[in-house]
């Protein structure tokens, strides 16, 4: 038999049941029951959550690694740039030190006018101790002008083009410079050699020269101005019956590491050729 209740009665009955269940739940009657039901749900939820976090970590970590790698690449590039900058700054510092020393030399010798020049090459032949500088006749350079460094004499201009010049160093085998020894004031001739050494020749036998004595240009011969430091005597060779003594000289300029030089532009070398008589002249 099918008994049908009115709809309103069903609603009231269901409401009462719901209220009753709610009242029972609030009073704690269902607590053990709910723990029994909720516990596996929590466990499953925990497991699902952990798996999700694992996946999430994996995804975010790979993204982080990509970011870290990108940052690393950028930092490496930055590091390379900084290294290059450091090298450039160190080079500038060296140049600055050289230029400061050259300026000091120019201040200490105000009787001359100077032009700074960079050494851009060396003679391709190992037989010649020549350097090539980046200043030429456009800058006022002329053949015969002396070339110095912050330490002292380096050589003289032997050939000039519009934008460059060739400088014969004092170590060149053909070099002959009139010098004097201080403090004895002995006159002598300085010669270069194929070995790159410089020696002092034609020192009068009676003159008192010793290791440590300074060598300065004497100005005789008209090829170099006087009183420019050339080097220092390291050893003296004297034979009993010889007319002259000779000596080894340590140059003040380091010719293996020349990078910037000064050209003395207000010095005119004296040309003695017109004074030399022709061979046919009586």
């Amino acid at each position: 038999m099918n008994i049908r209740f009115p709809k309103s009665l069903r609603i009231i009955a269901l409401s009462l049941v719901a209220i009753g269940i709610l009242a029972l739940a609030l009073s704690g009657v269902f607590s053990s029951f709910s723990r029994w039901v909720v516990s596996p749900i929590t466990s499953v939820q925990t497991w699902v959550s952990r798996q999700y976090q694992g996946v999430d970590n994996f995804v975010s970590a790979s993204q982080d690694i990509r970011e870290i790698r990108q940052q690393n690449t950028e930092l490496e590039a930055e590091n390379a740039r900084m290294q290059a900058q450091i090298v450039e700054l160190q080079q500038q510092l060296v140049e600055f030190e050289i230029l400061s020393a050259l300026l000091e030399f120019a201040r200490a010798n105000p009787e001359h006018q100077y032009i700074g020049a960079s050494v851009i090459g060396r003679d391709p032949s190992p037989f010649l101790n020549y350097i090539i500088i980046n200043r030429g006749s456009d800058d006022g350079l002329r053949r015969g002008m002396p070339v110095v460094t912050q330490n002292g004499l380096a050589g003289r201009v032997v050939q000039v083009t519009a934008t460059g010049a060739r400088v014969s160093l004092i170590t060149d085998p053909v070099t002959k410079i009139n010098v004097r020894v201080e403090p004895s004031r002995s006159a002598a001739v300085l010669s270069g050699s194929i070995k790159g050494d410089i020696t002092l020749e034609q020192i009068p036998q009676d003159d008192d020269v010793n290791p440590g004595n300074l060598i300065l240009t004497s100005g005789l011969g008209g090829n170099y101005p006087s009183n420019i430091i050339v080097g220092q005597i390291t050893s003296v060779r004297s034979r009993e019956n010889a007319l002259f003594q000779s000596a080894s000289v340590q140059p003040v300029t380091d010719f293996s590491d020349l990078s910037i030089v000064l050209v003395i532009i207000n010095f005119e070398p004296v040309d003695f050729n017109p004074l030399i008589p022709d061979s046919g002249t009586p």
Binding site: D123, P124, S168, I194
Partner: protein, 163 residues
């Protein structure tokens, strides 16, 4: 191989020689990069313009050097002539031929330089020159010969495969 190509190529080599190679001496000797390159070119069977390359290279070096004009050109022409004789006579030459020609090329060049400077009145002794200039130069030239020989061979194959 085009002679026009020789002007920028050998010009660059001459600049390298003056700006870099000449600053790296062994005792008083320096490597002759131009000589080694010209010999390596002359020894390649595919090259028919070795003489012209030698003249261009020699002129560049004569321009840069303070030695009397022509010494480098004559030296390089002699070395090229020797290289071409070897190339004609020997069916299969090797890297040793490069060393042989570089040796004699360096000797030609230094003998000429010595002779001219001696006649000009330079106080240079033959024994000292051989000891402090020529022998170290030959050693340096030998050292750079192998890489330049291989590089020249590769470049020529790339640049001019049809010759």
């Amino acid at each position: 191989m085009s002679v026009i190509l020789s002007i920028p190529t050998l010009g660059l080599i001459a600049i390298l020689q003056s700006a870099v190679v000449s600053r790296l001496p062994l005792n008083r000797g320096t490597a002759d990069l131009m000589l080694v390159v010209l010999v390596a070119i002359a020894l390649q069977k595919t090259v028919s313009t070795s003489w012209q390359w030698s003249i261009v290279g020699g002129l560049f070096m004569d321009y840069l050097s303070g030695l009397p004009f022509g010494i480098f050109t004559v030296s390089y022409l002699l070395a090229t002539g020797l290289a071409l004789i070897i190339r004609e006579r020997i069916w299969r030459f090797s890297f040793l031929m490069q060393l042989l020609v570089v040796f004699f090329g360096t000797m030609f060049s230094h003998a000429l330089s010595f002779l001219v400077l001696f006649l000009q009145g330079s106080e240079i002794m033959l024994g000292t020159v051989l000891q402090v200039v020529t022998l170290p130069s030959i050693i340096l030239n030998f050292m750079i010969s192998l890489p330049i020989f291989i590089l020249t061979q590769d470049i020529l194959e790339q640049v001019n495969p049809q010759e």
